[in-house]
């Protein structure tokens, strides 16, 4: 279906001229974005980790980004495979991140 030719403005984009948009909690979107960003940081810290192997700070940062990436990945798997009812998707994000960080804390204090 072709729309008739008329003068129209280009589509507005998400958040464009939208004073209140960013105050809204689109948690799922930020979860997705955080996972993408953490992937980039994993590459960065993995490279640094290979170069400087036994630096606790680098190990900690690599571990942290890995935990974030894994937890948010598990969130998507849980939702994809219908293992968690989709109506709890908002609560799922703090839960997977919290459990991930708790596991990280335990492992970190066992190692060091």
């Amino acid at each position: 279906m072709k729309t008739p030719e008329m003068e129209s403005r280009e589509p507005l984009q998400w958040g464009e001229i939208d004073p209140y948009r960013r105050g809204r909690a689109h948690v799922g979107m930020w979860a997705w974005l955080l996972q993408r960003i953490s992937a980039v940081f994993i590459l960065l810290f993995l490279g640094l980790h290979l170069a400087y192997t036994y630096k606790p700070f680098l190990q900690f940062m690599l571990f942290l980004t890995l935990i974030f990436h894994a937890a948010l990945g598990i969130r998507v798997i849980l939702l994809d495979c219908n293992l968690v009812n989709i109506k709890y998707q908002r609560y799922l994000i703090p839960w997977v991140l919290g459990i991930g960080l708790a596991i990280m804390a335990v492992v970190w204090f066992i190692i060091y």
Binding site: M1, T3, R9, I17, Y20, G28, L79, D80, C81
Partner: protein, 427 residues
């Protein structure tokens, strides 16, 4: 009765197609007596009647049925007729803006053409498998009917497409509303178009990033994400029926330009750069990233696995015994037990050595391994020779070959005396 408390600022996005440009907000002051029973649509109608008759907006049913008045209300997509002023934070101005991702015709009116084009791509009509004269009976507690739930309530208002950050970036993505419609029909056991519908819908589903923006804003509380995930799970159970769909026109490769003279054997030459097809770019990028990461990982693993065997074996000093253990003029066989550590590998070694003591401070230490094939060599006091049991090799007391196949004499080991303990350097 006009007081400070009831006066609200209303900012409405204005775009005039005759003037063009980016569009801007116009501000109106409106006295809203009772925010709990005043909808945004009431606000718009009042402003149009009382203040500015040139404002354009769509509405029809006023009761959340038709989906005409979808707009972005204070940063969130919703129906103007369903959102009350009291739903918005009291401190905020009322900000009204047309839906995202649709061409703006005038003010709050958008062109829904692209939406319905995509909607039609998802085959949104029901085609029965067979003709029924009697009404088909589906029980209310039928699991499939329960799965569909209220997803059939979609009124195609476009709020989900406006909130989805993926629709605009993927030309072939049908969007949550169309996929939700496809889901309601796919889950219907009477549907005759299952395979073509699933094939088309699945291609779109790959673009969903599980963001749940559509679920957050849907005025009918339908979850587009749930529908998309349902279609994907449905596809897993019907893998054999699915055939790959042809590329969407937007993703198709443009005809290849005639090949130029290959001047440099580089993969990123000018011909590629002038051909910015999304799919070919993604393929190249994915290939590059794949190659780079496999080389990196292979390098690290290879070095870890191979390097210790390439490095020269680390030597260490191992105590063989105190001076008292070795009678002067005698030859003793001592079993050395030590750990050989190399890189990440460590191994327990038990190796016999032969120690000959000539005087208080003169020793000779031989490895007991025969230079021929590595059998254990022992001192035979009767013939005063070192003898190898395997192939009859014989050595004199200095370790030189007397008989048999050994190519050279016994290997001598460096030794030293520290604090009355004799130490031997071994590998």
């Amino acid at each position: 009765m006009q007081s400070k408390q009831t006066l609200r600022k209303v900012k409405i996005y204005r775009y005039d197609p005759e003037k063009g440009g980016e569009g801007q907000f116009s501000t109106y002051d409106l006295n809203i007596e009772n925010p709990a029973i005043t909808t945004i649509l009431d606000v718009l109608i009042r402003i149009q009647k009382e203040q500015d008759p040139s404002i354009s907006f769509r509405y029809a049913c006023r009761v959340n049925m038709c989906g005409s008045c979808g707009m972005v209300i204070n940063g969130r997509e919703g129906l103007a007729c369903k959102t009350n002023v009291s739903h918005l934070p009291a401190g905020q101005d009322i900000t009204l803006r047309p839906l995202n991702h649709f061409p703006v015709i005038k003010d709050l009116v958008v062109d829904m053409g692209p939406f319905f084009t995509k909607y039609e791509d998802a085959l949104p009509f029901f085609e029965p498998k067979m003709k029924h004269d009697e009404p088909y009976i589906i029980k209310a507690d039928d699991p499939k009917r329960v799965d569909i739930g209220m997803a059939t309530d979609c009124i195609a208002c476009g709020c989900c497409v406006s909130s989805c950050t993926m629709v605009n970036n993927h030309e072939g993505y049908a969007g949550p509303a169309a996929l939700n419609r496809a889901f309601t029909l796919l889950a219907d056991e009477r549907d005759a178009l299952f395979v073509p519908r699933l094939t088309r819908a699945l291609e779109s589903c790959y673009n969903c990033r599980t963001e749940f923006n559509c679920t957050e804003v849907c005025p009918k509380q339908i979850s587009g994400t749930r529908s998309i995930k349902y279609i994907q799970r449905l596809a897993v159970t019907h893998l054999k029926e699915l055939k790959p769909l042809e590329a969407h026109p937007a993703e198709e490769l443009p005809p290849k330009p005639p090949k130029e003279e290959p001047d440099t054997p580089c993969c990123c030459k000018a011909g590629h750069a002038a051909d910015p097809s999304r799919r070919s770019f993604l393929k190249t990028a994915a290939g590059m990233v794949g190659i780079a990461s496999s080389v990196g990982i292979a390098g690290v693993l290879g070095v870890a696995a191979v390097a210790p065997t390439l490095a020269s074996n680390p030597k260490q000093w191992v105590p063989a015994g105190t001076l008292k253990d070795f009678p002067v003029g005698g030859i003793s066989t001592i079993m050395l037990s030590y750990t050989r550590t190399q890189g990440f590998h460590s191994a327990a070694v038990n190796a016999p050595i032969l120690v000959r003591r000539d005087s208080e401070t003169e020793f000779l230490c031989f490895s007991s391994s025969c230079p021929h094939l590595g059998c254990s060599v022992a001192w035979d006091p009767l013939s005063a020779r070192f003898k190898c049991a395997c192939h009859g090799g014989a050595f004199d007391k200095d370790g030189n070959v007397l008989a048999g196949p050994p190519p050279r004499g016994l290997d001598r080991l460096p030794w030293k005396i520290e604090d009355g303990i004799i130490k031997v350097e071994v590998v």
